[in-house]
């Protein structure tokens, strides 16, 4: 990337609690203890990019909760998918899940969650930042990625670099857009049983897959704690081992934690298995207090669902 490859697209007027640049994630370095990063809701992120005419993997902004105000520094074509954070453009409701034109000087506000937790803002051609360890994905805890390369979240006054193509006009209706998901509904989270699932007691396995779970306050990009019946495992802790996306671990307190994109790379609690990528995405849109259920699935079904998502996004 050279300076000629970028222009300033947006200025941060109000930063909000958490807005992070995310490409597909940081790969090939997990053996060094570097986490995966990438969008917590792969589905919403991918659709924002698709609607903005971008290829898979293009950097987009993951806006958690809201509280963010951005001012366009030039004319832009954008798309917002994922959560409905009561976004407005110049005070009027912003259309989601479709391309939108933003004029220089206009203000884009993400207010507060109405449906889901994380919105994805893509601009035509993508946001631009220098990759760190192969990715621009912003991991605050590791000080890697983001616009500054050191894992900083957005701050007031930041001027965000975008592709020089960010103003190009987008065709509407180029892709069959899915009906915007209703993230407030009960989420059925598909889980591939594995790991130490056989070491949980029968009662616990029944409870895990038949009782409702409540999303706890302790939820972030590392993981989401679920509260419900206490699950008992015959194994207390293990020698630490590599942990995949969506792994559902159960610490001694019996309350499962589904591990998301910024999880630690290794861990030593017994696991029920792993959520599918789409289930992990779905969970990332749940607010604390929301109810979810775990549903065992097969590798074949999980692969089919994932393949359908990727195919529907191909251009």
């Amino acid at each position: 990337m050279t300076p000629e490859d970028t222009v300033i697209g947006l200025r941060v007027e109000r930063a909000g609690p958490l807005a992070l640049l995310q490409d597909g994630g940081r790969f090939g370095v997990r053996r060094l203890g570097v986490t995966q990063g990438g969008p917590a809701d792969l589905h919403g992120w991918a659709w924002a990019n698709r609607l903005a005419g971008n290829a898979w993997g293009t950097p987009a902004l993951e806006i958690t909760f809201g509280g963010l105000a951005l001012v366009a520094e030039r004319d832009l074509s954008i798309a917002v998918a994922g959560a409905d954070l009561a976004a407005t453009l110049e005070g009027k409701p912003l259309a989601l899940w479709q391309p939108v034109r933003v004029r220089e000087g206009q203000t884009l506000v993400f207010a507060t969650p109405r449906n889901g937790l994380r919105a994805y803002l893509a601009v035509a051609g993508g946001f631009r930042a220098e990759p760190v360890l192969g990715s621009v994905s912003c991991v605050v805890r590791e000080g890697l990625g983001g616009f500054d390369g050191h894992g900083a979240t957005l701050a007031e006054g930041d001027r965000l670099a975008v592709s020089p193509d960010a103003g190009r006009r987008l065709e509407a209706g180029v892709a069959p857009v899915p009906a915007p998901p209703d993230y407030t509904r009960l989420a059925m989270l598909a889980l591939l049983p594995g790991a130490q699932v056989a070491d949980f007691t029968g009662d616990s396995l029944f409870a895990a897959f038949n009782r409702p779970w409540k999303v706890d306050d302790r939820a972030d990009r590392m993981g989401v704690r679920l509260s419900g019946p206490r699950l008992a495992c015959r194994i207390g802790s293990l020698v630490s081992e590599g942990i995949g996306l969506g792994a559902v671990q159960v610490p001694p307190d019996g309350q499962p934690i589904a591990l998301l994109n910024d999880r630690q790379t290794i861990g030593g609690y017994p696991r029920l298995g792993a959520l599918t990528p789409l289930a992990a995405s779905r969970l990332a849109q749940c607010l604390p207090g929301q109810e979810v259920r775990l549903a065992a699935t097969t590798g074949e079904r999980a692969l089919g669902d994932y393949r359908r998502l990727r195919r529907s996004l191909e251009r």
Binding site: V29, R31, G33, V34, E142, L192, G194, A274, P277
Partner: protein, 252 residues
Amino acid sequence: MSRGIQSGTERGGRRGARLPRIESAGLDGWLVRLFEGIDEDNLAWLGALARRCETALGEALVDLVPSYTTLLVTFDPLRLAPETARARLEALLADLTPDPAAGTGQVHELPTWYAPRVGPDLEGVAGHLGMSVAEVIDCHAGREYRVFALGFAPGFAFMGLLDERLEVPRLSTPRRRVPVNSVAIAGRQTAAYPTVTPGGWRLLGRTTARLFDRERDGFSLLKVGDSVRFVPVDRATFERHGGDMTPVEEHS
């Protein structure tokens, strides 16, 4: 070289018929479990398996995470069907032999100033173990360690095994901010902190080595399988090599 901490196992803690085992680790991964217990001898096997995975999975390979007894293999499931990946791993395991070269890795010397100013738990550990500070330092620096796993933070290497005489529990309340380059022990393991993180290990001193560097080829100084020796240096040497003199209290 020390033996593993689990006894009653054969060939580096590898346990008879049930191992190796391939376990589901989600849509895009398989966890290959080779051993039950921690043992330095595991490294030659894990190293060999990792190397062969790179060839066997080719372009579809996304990440390999070796750790103590296991190797997590992740791949792009659209490029390589999970069942095909599993079959390839099974084929690899059928004729796997340990690779001493992959298991040995590089040898590193970490210059370390052991002093209460940068190792605030040094005196407490000595007192707890009924040893003098000098004995603790000799004991910690007197052995070559192997890197069993990286995790917790980028470049954070879990090393062992520590001399039994140095075995101490973690702090009951972790520090909120452990200074960069702190050298620490917990249980039968030792580590050096590459970045400022919370941490519950007991701090003995501080190294001048640059543990994680985004500009360096390979990024992390230490990798799984490497050998590490802590070399005691005096304050003047530590300072001359750019060691951070800030006492721990100021960081907290």
